[in-house]
Symmetry: C2
Subunit: 430 residues, 2 copies
């Protein structure tokens, strides 16, 4: 063990998570030396507005607007990037690594787009590059996948990895709220942003799926490879019917390894109410992992927020500190040693829930069944609802079928006069 | 990175878990070099019966009954102890470490009793000593606690960490079976051993609590410090009343850090049906962890069995291999840098569920309430059940009270003529 009196780190950004990290490091300072063999000191905090930031920290002399000063300070060995977004985060991380500094980030946007360049740069400069906080906030998932479950071939990772949408769906399920009202409530309570697009359209979850898939299957998946579909079309009625049939509706990020390649997608999914993911409610997240040896496992907790996210960031920082103390940095780098194709959504197989409004005439059910049969789609459950005068509602769940064939059926349905509306199409866990 | 063509390991024991490890290592061999930078070879397997073991392995020349041969083989750098029990496991582990070999074990009995000596020996010989499989089988929990959650002060670890008893309680809950019948079924299905004492009396869970508490609170807790109480007295009626009151009954291992010290115990607990642990059923395990930064987290999966346990063992082996490749062994050793007292059960505070059979006469309820009041025990819920002729049943849940005061009340109840029987006493999560 080399002698180290203290390890110095720089924090880039003092927003929600950055301030959380500042607080967690202060709380931990009495025990750091015993825990890690050395203390960790935040020597510099890069901010945009010195005055605003000064109100948050005890000693404002650590604040700076000068990135180059941090970069050129040889004492600073760890850079904690919590600015978010693509630039200047990307440049800062790459420059830090090239200067031999170790990097921790929670930046999923960047990782999901430029993961390969970042990992390669870290590897070639023997830097630690950790990002436990980028997926599912405080929940330990990256390190368990890379280390604890390393003896497994992972076949599936399936997660509730966006707290905002899980809060909305929980409200819709428990209180029968419609989407718009639940979103408004989430915004009022601070769970959803003023522009909620990234959350409700599944983009945020899509970035996390790209990262999870890359690690689980040892093959690079980027955000562009991930199919995303949000929850804006889910109605309280869909949730109610799902419940009747024994399912809950969740926005799931799914990554699967199949014989023909990797599936990576985010969309609403009906999962059996007895599934462990079905009871993950409110803004909680959970990641369900299936391995050939371990079987089913699940990791549950807070997927966002100041302190939970800071917990994951500080866990990474402490791991680097231990590496610095023992001279063991760069121990676990990129693990993408395979090069697997990502399967187009059309080629995946799924079960589907369809809810449609039809004319209440003889032979409609038969006509619907014929279209499905012609496209090799077999029906597992079919219920006729709200038969009332000239109008009826058909709700059905198909067996497993290729998305392409299912879409062909949908296309035909839309051209049929007796079918007035396709109200919902939701994939069903299979 | 030093050049290593292959790392050689020895397996001690080819029982259920040992054979699982043998199989997982074989499955992983095509990708080991890419994953770890080197291959791992099981050079020797120590067995008692060569003939029996020969039927399990492809190449029986790896089998041996000669521990000294393994110990003195300088090529063997990793020893995987899966014999179980105290001796000769203890001696083998200590000798291996003293010979500079790194050790992986799943041996909770040994860790819960002699953890300190094992950790100290590993530290002083710069050996890696990993035991992820000793608690909750395949579920990653030791490494998440030591690394991912290192930035937290952990206040509570609460787990369903015995699959046999969880299976029994699930059967009692779902099918209304009595304990004896559910145990018999568990034995028939191979979930419970012929002598089920260690499981049903909470001893197995108690050992795991000792290990979890030591890691979570950085202070050594041994099995002797852990209060244990099994599930043999739980009846289907208790479970039924618990459900009515909004609770499920689980055998929980609980470790808490309080201002006056550590609480470490195993006993049946009524937990709110909405709590994530309440929906952990069958032989699944889960560990619920509360940290000051991360908040509530839970780790769920298979807590026992050949392949899940092997998954955890191989994860540890791979971590050592990475350390060997990078020359970084001994990076994370014992983290018990505190020395906290363990609180006696009498001094802990709990809520209690009591079910008692009383005479159906005027003033019984008042008499019961008076005894509780005299001992500073306040009542949160009280229900009178099965009032029938001369007999009635009282079911109540107390507020939080010191175990000592509660026991005093119980003592008084037992001396009262109007109280015919104290049928059940179960602690309630608070």
């Amino acid at each position: 063990m080399s002698e180290k009196r203290s390890v110095k780190a720089a924090l880039l950004g003092l927003g929600t998570v950055g301030y959380g990290v500042y607080k967690v490091l202060r709380r931990q300072s009495p025990e750091m030396e015993q825990k890690l063999g050395t203390a960790v000191e935040l020597k510099k905090i890069l901010v945009r507005n010195l005055e605003k930031a000064a109100k948050k920290v005890e000693d404002s002399s650590v604040l700076t607007t000068d990135w180059q000063g941090i970069l050129k300070d040889p004492e600073i060995e760890i850079v904690i990037e919590l600015m978010g977004g693509m630039e200047p985060a990307r440049t800062c991380i790459l420059e830090a690594m090239k200067a031999g500094k170790h990097v921790v980030t929670a930046n999923k946007d960047l990782l999901a787009a430029d993961g390969k360049e970042l990992m390669d740069t870290a590897d070639s400069h023997h830097c630690d590059f950790f990002f436990e906080a980028a997926v599912a906030g405080g929940i330990p998932i990256i390190r368990p996948l890379k280390q604890c479950l390393a003896g497994n071939y992972i076949s599936e990772v399936m997660g509730i990895i966006n707290g905002t949408t899980n809060f909305i769906l929980t409200k819709m399920t428990r209180e029968g709220m419609e989407f718009a009202d639940a979103l408004a409530l989430a915004q009022k309570l601070g769970y959803a942003e003023a522009d909620p697009t990234a959350d409700i359209e599944g983009l945020d979850a899509g970035r996390k799926v790209a990262i999870l898939a890359s690690i689980a299957f040892h093959s690079r998946v980027t955000f562009d490879d991930v199919y995303t579909e949000g929850i804006t079309k889910i109605s309280a009625r869909d949730i109610c019917y799902a419940k009747e049939m024994g399912y809950d509706i969740k926005l799931l990020g799914v990554a699967r390894q199949t014989d023909s390649g990797i599936e990576a997608r985010v969309h609403p999914m009906m999962i059996e109410s007895a599934h462990p993911l079905a009871s993950v409610n409110d803004s909680y997240n959970a990641v369900f992992v299936v391995g050939d040896a371990v079987g089913d496992t699940m990791f549950y907790g807070r997927g966002a927020g100041e302190m939970p996210t800071a917990s994951a960031v500080v866990g990474d920082v402490f791991d680097i500190v231990r590496n610095l103390v023992h001279g063991t940095c760069g121990r676990i780098g990129c693990t993408c040693y395979r090069n697997l194709p990502v399967i187009a959504m059309d080629e995946t197989a799924n079960r589907y829930f369809i809810r449609m409004q039809v004319e209440n005439t003889c032979g409609v059910l038969a006509a619907v069944a014929k279209v499905l049969g012609d496209n090799c789609v077999s029906v597992a459950q079919m219920i006729q609802k709200n038969v009332c005068g000239e109008h009826a509602e058909i709700v059905l769940i198909t067996d497993r079928v290729k998305e392409r064939h299912f879409r062909d059926s949908l296309q035909t349905f839309m051209e049929m006069e007796v079918i007035r509306e396709i109200s919902s199409v939701i994939r069903v866990q299979s």
